[in-house]
Structures are given as structure tokens and as C-alpha cells.
Symmetry: C2
Amino acid sequence: MKESWSSVDTLETNFRPLVVIELAKGTKEETIEWFTKRIVDKKANGGAQLLIKPLVTENGNENIYLVGASHLRLLLGAENVGLVKECNDNSMRAFTYSSRKTFKDFADDNQNFLTMSECQYIIKHELENLRAKDEKMIPGYPQAKLYPGKSIVRRLLTNGILVQIFPLHDREELKKLRHTWYGQVKIGYQPLDEIRCYFGETIALYFGFLEYFTFALIPMAVIGIPYYVFAWEDYDKYVMFATFNLLWSTVILEVWKRICAVMTYRWGTLLMKRQFEEPRPGFHGVLGINPVTGREEPVYSSIKRQLRIYFVSVPFVCLCLYFSLYVMMIYFDLEQWALDYHEENKSHFSSLMLYVPSIIYAVVIEIMNRIYRYAAEFLTSWENHRLESSYQNHLILKVLVFNFLNCFASLFYIAFVLFDMKLLRQSLATLLITSQILNQFAESLLPYWLQKRHMKKMKERMHSLKMDTDLSLVEQVNSEKEMGTYLGTFDDYLELFLQFGYVSLFSCVYPLAAVFAVLNNITEIYSDALKMCRVYKRPFAEPTANIGVWQLAFETMSVISVVTNCILIGMSPQVNALFPDSKMDLILTVALVEHLLLAIKFVMAFVIPDKPRDIQIKLAKLEFESLEALKQQIIAEIPQEESLSLKRNTRMKMLLEMIWAGQEANETCG
Amino acid sequence: MKESWSSVDTLETNFRPLVVIELAKGTKEETIEWFTKRIVDKKANGGAQLLIKPLVTENGNENIYLVGASHLRLLLGAENVGLVKECNDNSMRAFTYSSRKTFKDFADDNQNFLTMSECQYIIKHELENLRAKDEKMIPGYPQAKLYPGKSIVRRLLTNGILVQIFPLHDREELKKLRHTWYGQVKIGYQPLDEIRCYFGETIALYFGFLEYFTFALIPMAVIGIPYYVFAWEDYDKYVMFATFNLLWSTVILEVWKRICAVMTYRWGTLLMKRQFEEPRPGFHGVLGINPVTGREEPVYSSIKRQLRIYFVSVPFVCLCLYFSLYVMMIYFDLEQWALDYHEENKSHFSSLMLYVPSIIYAVVIEIMNRIYRYAAEFLTSWENHRLESSYQNHLILKVLVFNFLNCFASLFYIAFVLFDMKLLRQSLATLLITSQILNQFAESLLPYWLQKRHMKKMKERMHSLKMDTDLSLVEQVNSEKEMGTYLGTFDDYLELFLQFGYVSLFSCVYPLAAVFAVLNNITEIYSDALKMCRVYKRPFAEPTANIGVWQLAFETMSVISVVTNCILIGMSPQVNALFPDSKMDLILTVALVEHLLLAIKFVMAFVIPDKPRDIQIKLAKLEFESLEALKQQIIAEIPQEESLSLKRNTRMKMLLEMIWAGQEANETCG
């Protein structure tokens, strides 16, 4: 083993372990040899040209390897993944090795030019792009087929030879981050830039959104308090609150886009060219010619996928939704039966029985959510999406619809079928508060307890009382590989999405919801931070420029909430009293107001620009510069007429910048 | 004069006149000398490096100049404007001079590689980009201020020294085009590719849309006929028709995007990088530093512009809308008064009086539309938009809103205030048919008559009976410079937009509207073609990838039509009879159906991809190739570590292709 990694001309003293590769116990020697050889091999020979080192513990080699890379290799990798960094003139540009001197804080001996999470992201990218050349299978595993261009790491993962790849924590940095993030009791913003440096853009953006959303809820909460304190029940006050709420929710979603653009511009991801996406690990198909790459790889007919989506998945989802509604109806029947039973008997037992339906329903909902989640994952992977992103979008859509119905169907039923506003308020409060308490427990208390137990166990195992920063590398790797894997921001966003639903869908019935949401989110920030820093393995950084499909989900929710709030106000006795003669006028007025509010929403979304003016100007500037450079080059070319090709160098370089310049940049230069 | 253009080393025999420049009579000699010198000057000296030749007529020099360019200059210009052409491997790529051999039909001696309209577009672009160097004013005109970087041609135009610039017709080509387009009586598609070659993409896209829209209306027309023939008045049939209509209009608008993508991909404009837009001629402001270009030029505060828009333009438009509604109410009063008068008197005179209000109203509407158009143009130019595109968008929005109200307010009033379906149908038919007849007259008969007169006059002036293809260049230029200027596709699209309103807004009341629309559009194609070929100066080609703001306008109309149709159906006696007990249930049902239909519309718009799969694949392929090239280059670079910069040539070249690859290209490669 040793000679294969030391064959690279790098000093071992310089080796900084960044990523851990864990192979399955009992992996064949020839496989390990082949795999490590491919990792250290020169790029020109189709290798990744990284450094790899086995982790030798007291129990001998446990098939755990540490991966690193030379400084130069990381810089070239940064260019390869299209990393955008700040230049000396404060503009953001894609890093290229040849223009490295123009970047802020760059020095050939400055190892901190790239953050550790960037280095890890680069290594992950290089490993995933390690491709089979002419191997027909993984050596030693004839059943693990390969074809030219297949990602080796993905094949190893799907065949279980590779157990996991994860980036190492940086104990020093983490300690600093923990301290500024939640270590001190203070009121202020989260250190989003530091979070981004340590965990990457996707996670930093989630915390940014959580913080922004909490601040955005404060005005609603402040306005909502007097409604509770003074028990305001007047029609006009409710209408005011609901109208404010609806317009406010449009404004905050639009403003978020702008704030997001400012953040991701600073982080460089707004300008980052998306990488050509690889097929997801689970994608399968018969070998064919990919029409885009022209290479032989598994292809799967898009029509087949469409058929599976529209004729299996969609009906299945509809069936589940129907079933969930059916369960809800049973719950209401049970509720009624318990009420009747209590009316008849009036015993202690019967009053206890009153709670039984709710408890059963809550448990059933929880079970259904879980079963459905598995079914949705199974179905979506059976749909055989080629790209991880489209897999994620289809999964999110499925889960979102079902969760929405499960959480809100009973409230809709109470509001629009039973017309029982008192019960609605009560159910809303119960659902919101219990779900928040449960979540806080599952996300904060439970992890804290687990963490305590984990630390104790680790200390026992180590038979020593060293501080965790003093752990040796072996101990660190061993402790981290046992930690849970953070599965992405999906559940965190889902929680916020449902909370947004509780706050906005029935805001005019229960103005206090925003208060609870704010209180919850403040603790949520701390419990999520604890979760990221203490409970889970460090996740790979994932560059992203926005919150993606969640923006759409929140916007849809805010459109639905216009409809529900208008109906609720229309049903209130105070509004009904305004139209004593004809219900028809009432309904027509409500419908008119609803359409007007929707129209205002769309106009507002259209009028508020998605990017702040200074970001627009910066993007336009980049585009302008590249176009100017192009023109200058053409001017210089005209005289000599032929033999132009060699002089194109500068010009082509400037073209690079065209790529980072956004599409709309053009419109904004006055 | 003569020496200034002959100073360019080009054979005069090769000079092909492409564009005509007409200077004002009495323009000072020094101005002409300076201007022509700048046009022929080398690019390196800040000139346009074009060829220019005075047109000498029998009356001597009339300050008319012909502009042309050498073949090489045009090819470099094509690269400069970012023209996209088909390669030998059938893919579309941006033309570059160095890669010229890879393009289809390219040969160094093939003058037809670029179409004449492309050459004219290039010359226009080069002329408009002719910029002041250190001149402080136009020589001979101290009041015509210049500053470094100001477009000379635009300053000459705003100061009236330059009367007009227009491209010459190609009599041969035009004759061929006329023949295939409308010269023969045949049923079939228009020769859109030939139209595009001759008139450019914007105009070809308009005719493509007109044709597509006409075909799309045929199903509606076919379904509408039996309603008229059998006088169907059943509720269920109307509901069916309206539902079909609403979903159909969504489908056709979505499918149009796909068809548009196919066409513009073939024409190259889908991949064409937008040029950095210049300030529009009318833009003014104090000299300052443009934050994007960093150059000194007039700047105008965006806040001032916003203030003007929101505190002057918006209130003015609202006032006009109110005034237009007021006029409409007077019309209805007059109508009532005429009816009463007729009831009282029952004379011939009184029955004639019945028509008076309609005639007055029609005339007043026409006058209001015209005055408003001037006011809107004045206001929009007073708003001082920096870019032509934003000026156009603001103007279109203003005119659209007012025209919409003027055309449909009376119909809305009849439908939703008077509840008179019979009158609605009658008014709708009258408005639709009269507006179409008037338009046909103004667009077809009038131009035809003008054309006849024009030909006669020209023949008289020439004292000969030569065919128009035999005209000498002088005669051709003289006849073309007198022709009207085509002001763009605005009015043509507006006509279609209003027609779409007549067809869809009240479709369930008057199913026959689609039939009239189809008949009108068939003649419209011919009259518009006649207009383009015979009546107007040849317009400059304008590359475009879609119909822009009109797509949004049509989509908005189709959303509004869901609302109106649902209300109309809800008001029909048949539907009312279904809910004998409670009007409330009726209204709630209608509202529910309306929301469902709107939801279906949005889901459909979301689900139908904007680009067909093969276009998506082609775009993805371009992107993939450029990313692969980038990777290959990085691999080659790693060994030598330093001195990479010189080897970047190939790589940078491939980057060019990244620019043509669309944003979403990534998602679609399975």
C-alpha cells in the first residue's frame, strides 16, 4: 500500500488529511490497490492526482484511508469546479490558476486561501469524477460492472465496497465557530460567513433563511399580541391584520430573494457556473449512447419515466391523499362518538375518553407520514431520475403535498365544513404548540442527551480525560465515523414551511401563532446549530445560489393563504352582519377582495426586483468588461486579416467573465 | 469627398451598397468630411472601417450616401455582433473568424455566407457603435455636444443632421420572396425562413406567431360553428365550450414557447448572446460616471425616474382610465336617451338616432386612443429610460392597459352590470367585426391603393415603362427613401392581443368569435405581407429569441378570461336553474370551479417544458462540450505547474461555447 501513495512527489510532513474514505471490512487487496492507484495517479493517466494514506490504528489497518492533496492540486481543482473568489479590486471573479495573483489574500505560501470546506469540496468533486477507463469491472468484484466514463466512486458505493466518504472536522475551527455561534448568550446575528466557511453555502443559506424568517415574523407577532391581550374580536381589526399579513408575506418572500442574492454574491455562488451534473448513484438503464455526451453509458427512456410518473406515482399520491382524508373523517367520527359517550355517561373515564381520538389521530398521522416518506422515496427512485436534482425535486414535491394535507386537512375541515371558529383556534393552537414542542425535543434535548452519552462513552473508551481538541487523528477519525450523517436541509425547511402554514393560512383567526413561531425559531437556531456542530458528521459543502424549490413552496403557501383568509373573514359574524339582506353580496364582495389581493400580490412580486441594484450593477459591470475586451480584440485583429488565431489569448480570457455575468445584467446600467 | 472613401484599399467594382444614409440638406461640408472620415477610418483609429460612396443623381449630390463593407470586414463584424450560424456538424455555434472553416456553406469567396439582412444589421451595429473620441462637439455644429464614448450617429440623429439610415431592398430577392409568400394562391405555411433571411427575426417571428395563432384558433372555430348553426343554448354545452377554450388557450400559449424555441434555435438567435445595450437616443442627463462602464456619460438617477413613474405616470394612466370609463357611462346614458326618444316618437328620424350614440362613441374611442398614445409616448420618454428595451416595455404596458379598457369596458359593463347577455353578444359581434373590417381596410386596401398611386407617380417621374427590377440604383434609392418607415411590430401584436380578448374573454357567450378571428387572420397574413414588401422601407433586421412582453400579455389575458367565463356561466339561467334554492351555493360552486381552473392552468404552465426535448439536448450538448474541454485543459496543465498561461488557447476557445449553452441545459441529458 505504502509505495502507491508515496510515489507522488510530496513531502509526507505536508500531508493534511481532509477527507476520510472507509472501505468495507474484507475488501480484496487487489481492489484496494487498484483504487488507491487510481486516486494518486496523474491526471493525464486518468487519475485524480490526490494524496492518500491509510489510517493505521492500534488494531491494525481498518480499511480507513485519509485523502489530501497538494496546494497546487487544490488550486487547479478550485479552477476546475469553478470556484468564485474575491479579487483585489473587490469584484468577484472565477478563480483561475493563471490569474491567481489578482485574487485577494492569495500568496503562493498561503495555505488558507482556500477554506478547509472548499478543499474538501474540491476533493469530493475530484473523487466523484474519477472515471473508469477501459476497466470492464472493479478488480476483484466481477459483479460490479464498469464502462468507460462511469464514476468509480459511485460504483463502489452502490456495490457496498465503499462504506462512506466524509470530510474531517477541524476541531480548532469548530470550537471557534461554536463559541461565536451559540457559545455565548448574546442577541445578534448569526456568524453566517463563518458558518459558510465551515459548512458550505447550502447550510449557511438555511441558517440565513431561518434567521431572516424569524426577524420577518416579528412584526406579525408584535401586531398579533394586542389581539390576544385585549381579546379584540372586531371585524375591522381582523381584516386589517389579515391584509397586513398577506401583503407582508409577499414582501418578505420577495425581499428574501434580494437578501439571498447579496449573500450568495459575497460567497461567490451567485456567479458560479453550475457544473455539468453527473447521473445519480441509483440511476440504471441499458447501455446506450447519451445524446449529450456522445459517450456510452446507461440510458433510460424519458417516456418510460413520464409513464411511471403519471400512471403510477401520481395515482399513488392521490390515493394516499384520499386515504389521509378518510382517516381524518374517521377521526372526526371518533371525536363525535367520544363526545356523545361523555354526554351520556359524564364519568371520569368518559372525560378521559375525550382525549383518546386526538391521541390516536396524532399517532396515526405520524405513522402515515413515516410510511409515506418511505413510499415516496421508493417511488421516486423507481422513477429512475438521471440527476440528483430532479430526484430531489420530485421527492420534495411528493412529500410536501402529503405533509401539507396531513397537517392542514383537519383545520380546513373544521374551518370550511364545520364552520367552528372556536374549535379552529383551539386545534390550531394545539397543533402548532405540540408540534413545536415535539420538534424541539427531537432536535435539541434528544441530541443534547445523545451528545452527553456519546462523550461519556468516548471518554470511557479512551481511558483518559483529554479535551476533545487534543484527540489524536486516529481517535478523531474513529469518533467521527460513528457519528450520524446529516441528510440535508429537507426536514429543516419542511418544518419552517409547515410553520409558515400555521402562521399564515388562518392568521386572522389566531394572530398569536406568529408569537409562538418566533419563540420556537429562536430556540430552533440554537438547537440546529448544536445539531450541526455536535451530533452529525461534518457534511460536504455544497455550493448553491438560492433555496431552490422552497422559494416556490413558500410562495404557493402565501397564495393559498390569501384564499383561506378571505373565506375566513367572509364567514365571520361581524362581516355577515354588514350584509344583513343578502348573502350573495357578501360572497361577491369577498370574491372581489380576494381577486384584488391576488392581483396586488402578483404585481408586487413583479415590481420588486429579485436582485438589489448594486448587485445588478456589479453583474452588468462584469458583462460589460468582457464584451469590451471582445471588441478591443476584434479591432486589433482587422489589419493583419489572417493568422489571427494566436492573438486571441487575451480575448478568450475575458470571455471567461461573460460566463459569470448574469442574464439580466444587461438591463441595469443607468 | 471622393478621396475619403477611395482611400480604403478596396476595388470600387466590388462595392455593394447595403445601407443608405441621408443627411439633411445644407449640412456643412466640414461635418460631412469628418463623418465620412470616421466611417472609413481604421478600427484601430476608432473608425468603423466601412466603405462609403456619395450617390450622385442628375440633380447633383443630394447628401445621400451609400454604405458598404468588404467581405472580411463583414465577417469580423458578424463575430462582433455574436451571430450564430450552423456548423458542418449541424450544430449551431457563434461565428468566429478563426473557426470560419467549420461553418456550413462557408468559403472565402462565398459572398452569400451572410445574408444581405445580416450584412445590413452588422453595418447598422458598426455605425451605431461609432463613438466620439476626444471631439467635444460635432464639427460645424457647436450646439451638438459630444463626449468620449458617445455614439456619433445617435447624436447626429437627435440633432437632425442625419435624416435617416435605412437598408436597401434587394429587388431580385424581394420579387422571389413576394412570389413564394403571397404571389401564388396556395394553402400552406408561410416561407418563414425566407422571411427571416430578408426581414430579420423580429418580423419573421411576428408572422410565425400570426400563423401559429391562426392555426390554434381553428379548433375553437370548428367547435364554435355548431353552436351557431344549431343555436345551442344548453348550459352543459356552453360549459364544455368554455372549459375547452380556457385549457386550450393555456396549451397554445405554452406550445408557442416551444415552437418559438425551435424556430429561434434554427435561426441562431436562441443561442445569441445579447449585446450590451446602448442608451437610447432620447436619453439625457448630467455628465457623470456610469457605474457599469466606468466611463463619463450622461447619468440619470434611477430614483428620479421611479418618482416620475409612480407619482406622475401611474396617476395619469389611472386618470385616463377613469376618464375612459366616464365616457363609457355617458355613452350608455346617450344610448338610453336615444332608446327613450325612439319609444316616444317612433319616427324614421328617431330610429336613425338609435345609431348616433354608437357612432359617437366609436369616434370618441378612436380619438381617445390616439391622444392617449401620444401622451403615453411623451410620458414614457419624459421618464427618461436609459435603454430602448425598458422604454418599449413601459410604453407597451401603458398603451396595453388603456386599449384593453377602451375595448372591453363596455362589454364588461353590459355583462356584469346590466346582465344583458343578448346585448353582450350583439355588441361583441359588432365590435369584433367592425374593428376587423376597419383594420383590413387600413392595412390592406389603403396600402394597395397607395401602392398603385405610388407606382403610377414613379413611372410618370421616370418617363419610362421599365420594370421595377430594372431601376437604376439612383432611382431605387430615391423611390425607397420616400417610402414610409415601418415602426415595428407593436400595432400588429396589439391587434392580435385585442382579438384574443374578443375570442377568449366572452367565449361562452359568442362561440362564433373564433370563426371571424380565423377568417380575419388569413387575410391579415396577406395584407401584412403586402405591407412589408410593398408599402414600407425595408426595416433593419433585429435578432430576437422570443416575442417578449407579448407572451406575458397573452398569458395575463388568458387568466382574466378564466374569471370572466366562470362568472358568465354562473349568470346563465340554465346554471341558475340548477341551484333553485340558494344563490349562495351557486356562487360558491362557481368560485370553486374558477379556482380549480386557475390552479390547473398554473400547473399546466409549470408542467409543459418551455423548450422541446431535442433543443434541450442540443443546448446541453454545447454546454457539456465546453466543460469537457475545460477539464481536458486542466489535466494537461498539472504536470508543468508554472508557465501555463500560454497553453490556455484551446481551452479559452472552448469557453466561447459555454456562452451559447443555455442555463437549464444542464438538466436534460438522459
